[in-house]
């Protein structure tokens, strides 16, 4: 069922890896600056990928429409990224290079990413830092005035640039500023509080979108020569995640249903350092930046069920299990490794806190070594955030942390040009699948979002706009009428159910099912059960959901219901993908495939490929794109 598919031509340039991107740019068609304004591009989403893409394309002269579901483009969820952004500047004189960033990212992704894309990402990383500094991003500085760096999980060099614990915010505000400059110049038509509810495809090409104005409820038709999907990830299929409340899969899922293949949905990242769940009322999980692992030491009591206060447990009776099991990386092992290790010690009964599902992250040594002031300068806002949520002071008591869903490596399948299997539809940032393989390294999401939006798509969009001939379709065309009718009918159907279950309660059930059976640890039996339960829940949604009000006003329940309806379809695909991938790799851990020590066991013989799913009326079809490793040798990852 999964032979290499001729539908998945990645269009990677061959030959020397280091010059592929340069040669590819030369080979792409160009559009004369004067002719660019004649091309209209819709960018959905205003995070780092979407905001920077809309701004960059407008700067080049394209006519751009930018839309987002928030009230302002400055609020997209990129803003919540805390720790930093990687680049291969090698400012620390520690042997870093483009090749090393490339190598670390391929290895960190557990050899399930496409080498050509990753190399390009590493290559443009340095330009991103230059661009962000020029835009006034107030990165941390050394006393001499040069840029500061910190280290991050999965790397042995310090290549992460940061702005306190608010790097995502500062980068996004940089991109937002550039976007607003283009709005002011009249080159971007900005549409906030709009949700893309359908992709419009005509003659096989993406030719526009149907958006719903969330304030008036009106359905709008927007035509374009290309559509850029920059709508982030699908972590909220687990209900509780570190994602923002409005983060959703709907735009991507609508594209999937119109022909875009969905790649590797089972690659979900569980972040090791989040604040544990406190009760059923919980609406989100809060991340404590991974950068904390630079100075915090992770431990649990050596004796299961030890209920003494952490300060009363002597050093000899503490198990620093990451330092013990992974002496060379210690507390800085990659996220998937750290998360599973935490789950394992908790499953074995060593967990701490009221629920027993937490481990300590202790700063006592760092405070003793560097002083409270130094620790406060590095992590002050994170410590403040922790205290606000838990009521505990992490300067005195170790933090309690537990893994939570954070990022999704899977997404719409794209080729080297970031184009999906629907010509004219591109996917950027977290919404695509290509750069992080089965596990993303810390500080690489911001890098990828800005790489795709600022430097990749401005070059590759011509593959569609100039590289092929397509017919321009206006909003009066039947394809628009049909797509709009479908979107309307879906919402009307939701409003018409009039049952007894609230959207939130159904979403919570879906989340519990996904977290328990499709979360950090998966088995064939559990995945089979998850698929059954998702189907049952989907039937219950359409039979018993209750959404009040009408479609013609601001109606958050209706928005949430539409997103949940799509999550309920998508969840089955995620579980199906996890079931068909008979190996453990990165964020995907199958209990059947582990070593005697409980480490992930990859199966390169059978699964060294991308799985991309095609939607069909009778079910999904699994296609594969083989992955070849020319530069980085396929080896078992070891952080010991």
């Amino acid at each position: 069922m999964s032979a290499a598919s001729d539908r998945l031509d990645a269009r990677c340039p061959g030959g020397d890896m280091a010059t592929r991107w340069t040669r590819h740019k030369f080979d792409l068609d160009l559009i004369n600056p004067a002719n660019r304004r004649g091309f209209h591009v819709i960018v959905v989403g205003t995070g780092l990928a979407g905001g920077s893409a809309a701004a960059s394309l407008a700067e080049m002269g394209y006519s751009v429409t930018s839309m987002c579901i928030q009230d302002s483009p400055r609020r997209a969820h990129s803003i919540a990224a805390q720790g930093g952004i990687n680049a291969a500047k090698a400012y620390r004189n520690d042997g870093d290079s483009v090749h090393r960033l490339f190598y670390d990212t391929v290895k960190g992704g557990d050899f399930r990413a496409r080498e050509s894309n990753v190399h390009r990402l590493a290559e443009v990383s340095n330009q991103i830092i230059d661009q962000c500094v020029a835009l006034g991003v107030p990165f941390a500085r050394e006393y001499g005035g040069t840029l500061a760096n910190r280290s991050f999980g999965g790397a042995q060099v310090a290549r992460t640039f940061y702005a306190r614990g608010q790097t995502g915010q500062q980068l996004l505000l940089g991109a937002y500023g550039s976007l607003m400059r283009q709005v002011h110049a009249g080159r971007v038509n900005l549409l906030p509080r709009r949700e893309m509810v359908e992709l419009v495809v005509s003659g096989g090409n993406a030719c526009g979108v149907i958006a719903r104005n969330l304030v008036t409820g009106e359905y709008e038709r927007h035509a374009a020569d290309a559509v850029l999907l920059c709508t982030g990830g699908y972590g909220n299929v687990f209900r509780l995640s570190t994602n923002a409340q409005a983060s959703n899969v709907t735009a991507a899922w609508r594209c999937h249903r119109r022909g875009a293949f969905f790649a590797n949905p089972c690659y979900t990242q569980i972040h090791p350092t989040c604040i544990p769940v406190s009760g059923a009322h919980q609406s989100k999980l809060t991340l404590m930046s991974e950068s904390l692992r630079n100075d915090g030491r992770v431990w649990v009591p050596s004796r299961a069920g030890d209920e003494r206060a952490p300060g009363d447990i002597p050093e000899a009776e503490r198990d620093h299990y990451l330092e013990r099991r992974y002496p060379s990386f210690g507390n800085l092992v990659p996220r998937d490794v750290a998360s599973r290790a935490a789950k394992r010690v908790c499953d074995e009964g060593f967990g701490v806190g009221a629920t027993g599902t937490a481990v300590f992250l202790d700063f006592a040594d760092a405070i003793a070594r560097d002083g409270r002031t130094a620790v406060e300068a590095r992590y002050g806002n994170l410590f403040q955030m922790y205290e606000m949520i838990t009521g505990e002071d992490p300067y005195r008591v170790p933090m309690r942390i537990f893994p939570a869903v954070h990022y999704t490596m899977g997404g719409l399948w794209v080729d080297y040009n970031l184009e999906t299997t629907v010509p004219g539809l591109f996917a950027l940032g977290e919404a695509n699948f290509s750069d992080h393989g089965a596990n993303r390294l810390g500080a690489s999401a911001l890098m990828q979002g800005l790489a795709d939006g600022t430097f990749v798509i401005p070059a590759t969009i011509t593959a569609h706009l100039a590289g092929r001939s397509f017919e321009r379709v206006d909003v009066g065309a039947p394809a628009f009428a049909e797509a709009e009718a479908e979107a309307r009918a879906r919402n009307d159907r939701i409003l018409g159910v009039g049952g007894g279950s609230t959207v939130t309660s159904l979403h919570r059930e879906l989340g519990q099912c996904m977290w328990n059976l499709v979360g950090m640890s998966r088995s064939a039996a559990g995945l089979g059960e998850a698929i059954e339960r998702v189907r049952e829940l989907r039937d219950r949604f359409w039979a018993d959901v209750r959404v009040p009000g009408e479609a013609n006003h601001l109606n958050p329940s209706l928005e949430h219901a539409g997103r949940l309806a799509d999550f309920l379809e998508f969840a089955e695909l995620l579980a199906t993908d996890a079931l068909s991938r008979e190996e453990s790799c990165g964020g995907h851990f199958r209990e059947e495939h582990q070593t005697a020590e409980g480490e992930a066991l990859r199966n390169d013989e059978d699964f060294c490929h991308v799985a991309a799913w095609e939607h069909g009326a009778l079910g999904s079809t699994r296609h594969t794109e083989p992955l070849t490793f020319e530069e980085v040798h396929l080896v078992t990852r070891s952080y010991k």
Binding site: A55, E59, Q70, D71, S72, R74, R75, A76, H77, I79, A80, Y91, Q127, D130, Q131, A134, L135, G136, P138, R141, G144, T146, L147, A163, Q166, Q169, Q170, L173, Y176, S178, M180, R181, V183, H184, L190, V215, A244, Q245, A246, S278, G279, H281, S283, K284, T286, A309, M385, I389, G391, E392, T454, P458, T502, S505, R546, P548, G549, H553, L554, P556
Partner: protein
């Protein structure tokens, strides 16, 4: 370790308004068993679930990241912007700061330039238009010099970061008796005026942004300092002083 779990009984007076041109008023609701570990918005989630189970319309309120950084949440709680605790947003406010039996009054941010959209949701697009008028450095992608070519002292970078921490929530506007957007505007002007990269556009930035602010219907600044007290990111009114200098400078030198 965590305090023993307790719950609160609350009386809520919540603003209900169907649209910008429609009359609004308070509705009174009662909640039993609000966990002290809940965030304020989770308490509103519970209220909305209760309303749904009674077949009534839930309240609309803006929120997204629920970790105090996106700037989407708002609310005036018992007369205070973002509630009674200093330097946090409404989404970061937890119910342990309230007492059993409390009455809590919940209103939208109020200002002429921030019209109510529905219930507790207001239209803050005027702030985007202030930024569009000049709150950026005009460097096209691809034209940036090497990042370390321009050293910036830690003191300057830190102060710029203090200003850049603004999340654009409009709390400063809601707290100001004049409904002025001075602190918001000053935060961006100050951030960019401090950095050498922002220098080429200094002569026009402050003028253009302040003009836009006035045109949007925000009031003037009379140094009440309510904005600083309400700001969830502790942006200082010292940035307003810098804005005033920048405004004077660009009024003299301006080429807007």
């Amino acid at each position: 370790m965590a305090a023993s779990p307790t719950t609160l009984r609350l009386t809520l007076h919540v603003w209900r308004q169907a649209g910008p041109e429609r009359p609004g008023g308070f509705e009174v609701h009662h909640l039993a068993e609000v966990s002290v570990d809940m965030s304020f918005l989770e308490m509103l989630d519970i209220l909305n679930e209760q309303l749904l189970s009674q077949g009534r319309d839930p309240f609309c309120f803006d929120h997204d990241c629920r970790e105090g950084i996106c700037g989407m949440c708002s609310l005036v709680i018992n007369g205070q912007v973002h509630g009674p605790e200093a330097e946090i947003t409404t989404c970061q406010l937890h119910m342990r700061h309230f007492a059993d039996g409390d009455t809590i009054v919940i209103e939208p941010f109020r200002a002429r330039a921030l019209p109510v959209v529905r219930d507790l949701v207001v239209d803050r697009s005027a702030l985007d238009r202030i930024i569009a008028a000049g709150g950026y450095i005009s460097t096209d992608a691809g034209s940036a010099p090497e990042a370390n070519a321009l050293p910036v002292s830690t003191a300057v970078a830190d102060e710029a970061m203090d200003a850049a921490a603004c999340i654009g929530c409009a709390g400063c506007v809601a707290a100001c008796p004049n409904a002025s957007a001075m602190l918001f505007t000053a935060a961006k002007v100050s951030h960019l005026a401090l950095l050498p990269q922002g220098a080429p556009e200094r002569d026009r930035r402050a003028l253009a942004m302040v003009e836009r602010m006035d045109d949007e219907g925000f009031g003037g600044c009379t140094n009440e300092r309510e904005c600083q007290a309400a700001c969830p990111k502790a942006v200082s009114v010292a940035h307003i002083a810098r804005l005033n200098r920048e405004f004077l400078r660009s009024s003299v030198l301006g080429r807007s």
